[in-house]
């Protein structure tokens, strides 16, 4: 299933789409796959609609301390691009669509066309590319066309109208609206810039808009879904895995509860 389809189904149910981010390889490759499955289920069989599978990278310019920590641990254990493909296959076989969030050098090193081919055969829907904008994306545009993959580029509060039109035009599936000028990480306050960004983007595009950066609980998710088509949550999920690392535990119940809260939030709509 394409990732845009997950947004469409949520819209049909009159609610927001919930996208959950977890990095491959934290605490281990198998452990991360278990965690990804867990957030699709919560404790009551209801969780994220789309899994955003993070590919750990040595120089993650867009990530705050939480996701950096998890990625570092994964890299210490020598997580590979092949593990990312394995996670995609496991999540999609489990019944939830998946996109990969990856810094561009990892795709270039693997080979853009080869990456698209392997992602497609693993069942992946597409890529979120935090440091690749359409300006430099010629090769990815061609490869994603060839393998029918979604291209989720980011838009930001600082994007000019011209860039909003250019970027959303290059997107396929949905658009990732970064709610603030900053990096990933849970924040207490809701963004004041995100509603305006989504409003501006909707003037130039019919694609669904997912809002990410700083959203950590069901109340915030509900608020975001009052003006956007979906919400992306990462650090709040990763924090539960960091709790496990600190206590030496492996129980995923708390992680599932965060998914419960968020899944309930996107059904509440403000």
């Amino acid at each position: 299933m394409s990732s845009g389809e997950a947004f469409r189904l949520a819209r049909e149910e009159g609610r927001g789409c919930l996208v959950g981010y977890l990095p491959v390889g934290y605490p281990t490759v198998d452990g991360s796959i278990e965690a990804m499955k867990a957030i699709t289920e919560g404790t009551r069989g209801q969780g994220v609609d789309l899994v955003e599978i993070g590919a750990p990278y040595s120089d993650p310019m867009m990530d705050g301390p939480t996701i950096q920590h998890a990625a570092n641990r994964a890299l210490e254990r020598r997580v590979r691009t092949s593990d990312v493909m394995r996670a995609v296959e496991a999540v999609t076989n489990h019944g939830t669509p998946a996109v990969v969030m990856t810094y561009w050098n990892l795709v270039e090193a693997y080979g853009v066309e080869r990456y698209a081919r392997d992602l497609s055969s693993a069942g992946g829907s597409g890529l979120i590319t935090p440091d690749l904008t359409p300006d430099e994306a010629e090769e990815w545009m061609a490869a994603s066309d060839q393998y029918d993959l979604d291209r989720i580029f980011l838009i930001a509060p600082s994007s000019t109208d011209e860039r909003l039109a250019m970027t959303t035009d290059a997107c396929r599936g949905w658009v990732y609206a970064t709610s603030i000028m900053g990096v990933t990480g849970a924040r207490d306050e809701a963004s004041s810039q995100a509603p305006e960004l989504v409003r501006r983007a909707k003037q130039v595009s019919d694609l669904p808009m997912g809002v990410g950066l700083g959203v950590s609980n069901g109340d915030q998710a509900a608020q975001v879904c009052s003006y956007a088509d979906g919400v992306i949550v990462g650090s709040a999920l990763v924090n539960r895995l960091i709790d496990n690392e600190r206590t030496g535990g492996s129980d995923l119940t708390e992680l599932r509860r965060v998914a419960d809260d968020l899944a309930e939030g996107v059904r509440r709509r403000g």
Binding site: D59, N105, S158, V183
Partner: protein, 414 residues
């Protein structure tokens, strides 16, 4: 004779397949604003006059060319000339770029600058320019580097800057750059990111090249005026590549002038412990540009190693990658041991102690001179002596096994 090269970078910041802007969308508007401001400033005579005044009356330009007669005797009869960037205020070429960018920041209405630094030279230069121009300054430095360069941390603090130790990733220069980028995206309104090298996303490689170009503009004029000729070869050390780019820039059209960039070979390229990005790296994307990168087969950055903190970086400016690919400039590694030998030899033959970074250029130039001597030639080689060695005394002591004990004691009873 001049070569006919198109003006690079192109309007997308590309040096053919290198360069570009691989950054989050949130930064795109700021990069465009920076590029426009830079182009406007370049065409503004008052900006040029202000920068020229600071160069002459604050930094101490033009820097001289010193003929290294005694050192030349160790170079097979070659004539070795030194472009003395070490005589700049703050002790290196870094001030050239910093003064230009700090003026640009003020022009853009920014009230603070942030910078990354490895050894601390760029950080000190940034803190200096910020103090001069009344800007706030925060410097990001890898935690490993703050520990081994505590003196420079204190210098920056004395100049009024805040120093942030970066504890993420490998805790070195590349991580300091990541952290500075992360802060910049959240503080764009009042903050300029003062990048210290010809790296990062467009337009930074171009801006830094243009502010460092003064090195070769002066040197080329000095060669013609004083020596009546161009050098046969120009040599510079290269980490990110700012002094090399400044030293090469005006000589690039002179096709008969060899351009040599000497990378940090560390413990030897074959050992894997080096920072010889062009010699041993592969093409990838790092810190916003496509260039040569030290990376594993999955594209994860590999940590670099060099005795010289200023060259200890796993990437290189995209224009150098392009110059290497076109063959216009030649890049070769120089090991820690070769550089330290050159540091000692230049100190003892000329009374000039180069920074360990610059000592790589000295060692490489001597190697090239001896190669040419073997072919019966006696070339004139111009070396960019990018910085002075005072900061490296602790490293040099350790390398030479010295501990600061005097040779003998005289006078006094017992």
């Amino acid at each position: 004779m001049t070569t006919n090269t198109p003006s690079l970078p192109d309007n997308r910041g590309h040096y053919e397949k290198f360069g570009g802007k691989y950054v989050p969308e949130a930064l795109q508007a700021a990069l465009t604003e920076l590029e426009e401001s830079f182009e406007q400033a370049r065409g503004d005579e008052s900006f040029a006059a202000e920068l020229d005044d600071l160069r002459r009356n604050y930094s101490g330009r033009p820097t001289p060319i010193t003929e290294a007669k005694r050192f030349s005797q160790q170079c097979g009869g070659a004539r070795i000339l030194l472009k003395r960037e070490d005589l700049n205020h703050t002790g290196s070429h870094k001030i050239n770029n910093v003064l230009g960018q700090a003026l640009l920041a003020k022009r853009m209405g920014k009230t603070r600058v942030i910078a990354e630094t490895g050894a601390g030279q760029h950080g000190v230069a940034s803190a200096t320019a910020a103090a001069l121009l009344g800007l706030e300054c925060k410097v990001y430095m890898g935690q490993v580097d703050t520990e081994r360069q505590a003196l420079n941390v204190a210098r920056m603090q004395l100049l009024g800057a805040d120093v942030v130790a970066v504890a993420s990733g490998s805790r070195t220069l590349k991580d300091a750059m990541n952290e500075a980028m992360r802060e910049w995206v959240a503080t764009l309104e009042d903050t300029h990111y003062l990048i210290g090298t010809v790296g990062g996303p467009h337009p930074f490689p171009k801006i830094v090249r243009e502010f460092q170009r003064i090195i070769s503009t002066e040197a080329r004029g000095q060669m013609i005026e004083r020596f009546g000729q161009l050098p046969d070869a120009v040599a510079a050390c290269i980490g990110g590549g700012s002094n090399a780019m400044g030293m090469f820039a005006d000589f690039i059209p002179d096709a008969e002038v060899e351009l040599w960039g000497f990378e940090a070979g560390g413990e030897g390229v074959e050992s894997g412990r080096h920072a010889a990005t062009i010699s041993a790296g592969t093409i990838g994307v790092l810190h916003g540009a496509r260039t040569y990168v030290l990376q594993d087969e999955d594209g994860q950055t590999i940590e670099s190693h060099s005795i010289s903190a200023g060259l200890d970086y796993p990437g290189v400016g995209p224009e150098h990658a392009w110059l290497a690919d076109t063959g216009r400039a030649i890049y070769r590694p120089v090991s820690d041991a070769e550089a330290m030998k050159a540091l000692e030899d230049l100190s003892r033959s000329e009374g000039i102690m180069p920074a360990i970074e610059s000592a790589h250029a000295v060692a490489g130039a001597r190697r090239r001179a001896l190669q040419l001597a073997a072919e019966g030639k006696q070339p004139t080689i111009l070396i960019c002596l990018s910085g002075r060695g005072d900061k490296d005394v602790p490293t040099a002591l350790k390398w030479a096994g010295l501990d600061g004990t005097p040779n003998e004691v005289k006078g006094g009873l017992e």
